[in-house]
Assembly symmetry: C2
Homo-oligomer: 215 residues x 2
């Protein structure tokens, strides 16, 4: 069995929770490389990220044997492996619907581009927003969504429209053949089983912070 | 031993990961109550939230015996309990620094208010932004941060300034006596051990989505 085959086999069984921790590891590992750190232990990772070192070792072991006992993980190698697992070594085109404050903030948030998740089109329904420039992008009418998604091979849709419009926009993305949606609207959206949807919710961050406040 | 005392005792040992799942449960449970659903099983919760039912039962068991075998959880009771655990049954004042696109989006995102995390002040360093209205709030100069934090009993700070300014603003929040920070700037910030800091990062959401795309 080739190592690559084994990686895929194991990867299928891993939980959402593990997948969501990988970008957290990645972010910190990239900071380490930026600071010239070449090796890191699961203890150090755990301390910095407020996670259990055993959990970190278990998470990474799903994908292969990346660490060495008593030495730790090779930071650069691990960054490459996680980028590969998260498919960040390819450029993935992203379309954004809703050119309001949040939509603009996301377009301006160039961190996406660094990791190859690249917003390549912005859509809005309001006539007065069509033609506006956000960075290098021109806001397009939402009626052009389907054609643009196909032409630019957009695979991920971001929804930053008001909650009342979110399901309609999700349907349009699905109809255009999008594979995954990141929804920022405070609404639960229904999509077919073959479309992956994540709900980004600032309240989750704020609410979990509240727990740590003193009574 | 009173039940309340036991709850606190166990709660101290629970991990960040558990605390971060509670708002996710809460959001879905509130949707159930809105739809008139009174009982839910860990299986149903797991299916809807893409989590392991055993994990959900374990998470909730940290805080007490909320479920009944073969029946499930009483939705309304569970909502109340989680709100209590997350201290959402009190109003917590939040201050926001950085009145750019993201800061405005957060102020407009009234979901916060519903859960008693209430943004009560907005600060910015740019003279042209001072005095601007965002919803019912007037943008204040950042030089007023300390005095305002104390006067309004602001306990949580949100940072939506550029990465280059984030540490300075974090220091000002800390100096003003803030207990927790939610940082949206793409920068790792240093704060004293008694201040809790969470990093909100859209790339985490997008990157974990990428994993689920077909190769």
């Amino acid at each position: 069995m080739a190592e690559q085959g084994e990686l895929s086999l194991k990867a299928e069984k891993i939980s959402d929770a593990v997948v969501r921790r990988l970008p957290v590891y990645l972010r910190y590992l990239k900071e380490l490389t930026a600071n010239g750190v070449t090796t890191v232990s699961s203890q150090e990772l755990g301390e910095k990220l407020n996670l259990n070192p055993a959990q970190i070792r278990k998470d990474l072991a799903y994908f292969g044997e990346f660490g060495r006992k008593g030495i730790g993980y090779d930071v650069e190698y691990l960054v490459e492996k996680i980028r590969q697992i998260l498919k960040l070594n390819q450029v993935i085109h992203v379309g954004l619907a809703g050119a309001g404050n949040l939509g603009r903030a996301l377009c301006n948030y160039n961190a996406f581009a660094k990791d190859n998740m690249k917003i390549v089109a912005v859509f809005d329904a309001a006539p007065e927003k069509i033609g506006e420039k956000i960075n290098n992008l021109t806001v397009q009418p939402i009626s052009e969504l389907k054609e643009t998604v196909r032409r630019l091979n957009i695979r991920v849709g971001i929804i930053t429209v008001p909650a009342s419009e979110a399901q309609t926009v999700a349907n349009q993305f699905v109809d255009a053949g999008i594979e995954a949606i990141l929804n920022f609207a405070p609404a639960i959206l229904k999509v077919p089983d073959n479309v992956r949807i994540h709900h980004a919710d600032f309240t989750i961050d704020l609410q979990s912070l509240a727990y740590f406040l003193d009574q």
